[in-house]
């Protein structure tokens, strides 16, 4: 079985993003970029499945301009076998990304596609579900546990009311939550080795995907700030303050 992993290049989660004064977006100048943390977890899970002998190949896919090759190389250094860049300078939205993934899926015929449950830049949380819909296959989102049983997978999903368990036949799309695993650290020799692993490039046009969208972002602004708070000295003052505000 082959496992396909989506990797998105995003602003590192430790960076405090700043909105540009002209409202055109957030400041990406000189900002550290990383693999979306959820995608690292997705890849880690695939590597574990492969290393347990339940899959033969792990392929990482990223959509974007040439800088995404950095993140693909990180994926290869973590242990993926092969990388595919879907090259485009357009800012693809989730439906376009799902359409591009579908084209890759049709070429590669994976048994499993594992994606992050959301990207920490636009926080959309759509692509995996959309890919599953377009592909006509099962989706198991927000996975915190994944067990393969031959031709199906048992997935534990983190939902608002607790943990939901579903069985899905393969091929399927799984999107992962934080508690699925802890991704490995990349070691220096692996980075060297990753340079020799194959990285294929295909353009969005070659895949026949239209980057257009029914939704456009017109403005970006910083969030409203909360009014500055006060400090109290002890529990008694805290209780008094809460009473004054009618909260107790």
């Amino acid at each position: 079985m082959k496992i396909l992993i989506g990797i998105k290049r995003v602003v590192d989660y430790n960076v405090r993003v700043r909105v540009l004064p002209d409202g055109s977006g957030v400041d990406l100048d000189g900002v550290k970029m990383s693999v979306n943390p959820f995608d690292e977890i997705a890849l880690e899970e695939a590597l574990r499945i492969r290393d347990a002998g339940k899959a033969e190949e792990v392929v990482v896919v990223s959509i974007g301009g040439d800088p995404v090759q950095q993140q693909l190389r990180t994926g290869l250094a973590m242990g993926a076998d092969r990388a595919i860049q879907v090259k485009t300078d357009a800012e693809l939205q989730p439906l376009g990304a799902a359409q591009a993934f579908l084209k890759i899926v049709e070429r590669e015929e994976p048994g499993l596609v594992i994606l992050g449950k959301q990207a920490i830049d636009d926080d959309n949380s759509q692509t995996g579900q959309m890919l599953a819909a377009l592909w006509g296959r099962p989706q198991a989102t927000f996975a915190s546990k994944l067990v393969l049983n031959g031709t199906s997978a048992r997935v534990t999903r983190e939902v608002d009311s607790g943990l939901e368990i579903v069985d899905v036949d393969l091929p399927a799309v799984i999107t992962v939550d934080l508690r699925l695993n802890e991704p490995r650290f990349v070691k220096l020799p692996d980075i060297m080795k990753a340079k020799r692993k194959p990285l294929d490039v295909v353009t969005l046009e070659e895949l026949g995907v239209d980057a257009g969208s029914n939704v456009s972002v017109t403005h970006c602004a910083p969030p409203p700030q909360r009014a500055k708070g006060i400090m109290v000295d002890d529990a008694a003052q805290l209780v008094q303050e809460l009473k004054n505000r009618g909260l107790l």
Binding site: Q129, P138, I165, G229
Partner: protein, 312 residues
């Protein structure tokens, strides 16, 4: 004029409060508002939905394979109804986040995730970067808008109406490739996090599952719901459904009290809509104090027992 369809969230017994919040968002968009209820024994839930104001109609689709909220089964039902509507809305709960993009893809549109404000029938505000930026988005007016509603941004619509309930047969057959196995829920007596008026939260500082009991104790004293940071959940002090933040629950209680939580941006994004934020942390430099309305530098293991005795 807009015609808005809301996909109801429920557990077969009661309608989730998130649905009433979607009604408020729909009201801001303006137009006729219908609610679709999918499930197997949904008579009571459909009746409850019909009372929400100002709902125009309820469409109840009852079938065995719709009993559990599997997106693979619910999405085709929503799509079958959607053609008559300009907007299809669902809550930004885990149910909505799972279901709505599947509907959007089948309709052939991008979804607007987490509507926090309506600027016009096709113009919305939504957060990105864990709420560190707010974007304005415009939807093509000639396409169906499929969106999730950021529940923490909306008050629940009131009850008192009497819309008609229309029964419809399911239009799709069960997806054989996906099987619901079950739900593990701790579901105690405490108020639900997303609707609780008060929430008491604990972080990594609690140190163990046993000591996390301090948080439960104070919460019960105040009739509050219980939340947690990711670090506390990861460490196994409490169940996953208590996680508050970017990747947990986004909540909007009147009072939020955080004990031993540092205030990482991913946590803060989940509590920004709270009325009053109280932070107790022994580190005066902790970032949580940048957003708290009332801060107390202190050791939670002292402060919580003191609070308990002061509350009598």
């Amino acid at each position: 004029m807009s015609r808005i369809l809301i996909i109801a969230e429920h557990d077969s017994q009661t309608l989730n409060l998130a649905t009433a919040k979607c009604v408020s968002c729909a009201q801001a968009i303006g137009g006729d508002i219908d609610i679709a209820v999918f499930g197997s024994a949904i008579g009571e839930v459909a009746a409850e939905a019909a009372k929400l104001e100002p709902v125009t109609g309820v469409i109840a689709v009852e079938a065995e394979h719709l009993a559990n909220p599997l997106a693979v089964n619910w999405a085709p039902e929503a799509v079958a109804i959607a053609s008559g509507y300009t907007h299809v809305l669902g809550p930004s709960t885990t149910l909505g986040r799972d279901l709505m993009p599947r509907i959007a893809a089948l309709v052939g549109v991008n979804q607007v995730s987490d509507i926090m404000e309506v600027s016009g029938p096709h113009s919305f505000k939504r957060p990105i970067y864990a709420g560190n930026a707010i974007t304005d988005v415009e939807c093509a007016p000639d396409r169906t808008v499929v969106a999730t509603v950021r529940t923490a941004s909306w008050k629940a619509a009131g009850s008192g109406g009497a819309a008609a309930v229309e029964q419809r047969a399911a239009s799709s057959s069960p997806a054989e490739h996906t099987r619901y196995v079950g739900l593990e829920t701790e579901g105690g007596e405490r108020p639900d996090l997303q609707s609780a008026v008060r929430v008491i939260s604990g972080g990594r500082a609690l140190g163990s599952e046993e000591k996390f009991g301090l948080i439960y104790g104070l919460a019960d004293r105040l009739g509050a719901g219980v939340g947690a940071s990711r670090a506390a959940v990861d460490a196994g002090y409490c169940p996953n459904d208590m996680q508050v933040g970017q990747t947990g629950k986004i909540i909007s209680p009147d009072l939020y009290m955080a004990f031993g939580i540092s205030g990482a941006i991913q946590h803060i994004t989940g509590i920004k809509d709270a009325g009053t934020i109280v932070a107790v942390n022994k580190d005066s430099e902790a970032p949580i104090f940048e957003v708290s309305d009332i801060g107390l530098v202190g050791d939670l293991f002292q402060v919580i027992p003191e609070l308990e005795s002061l509350l009598g």
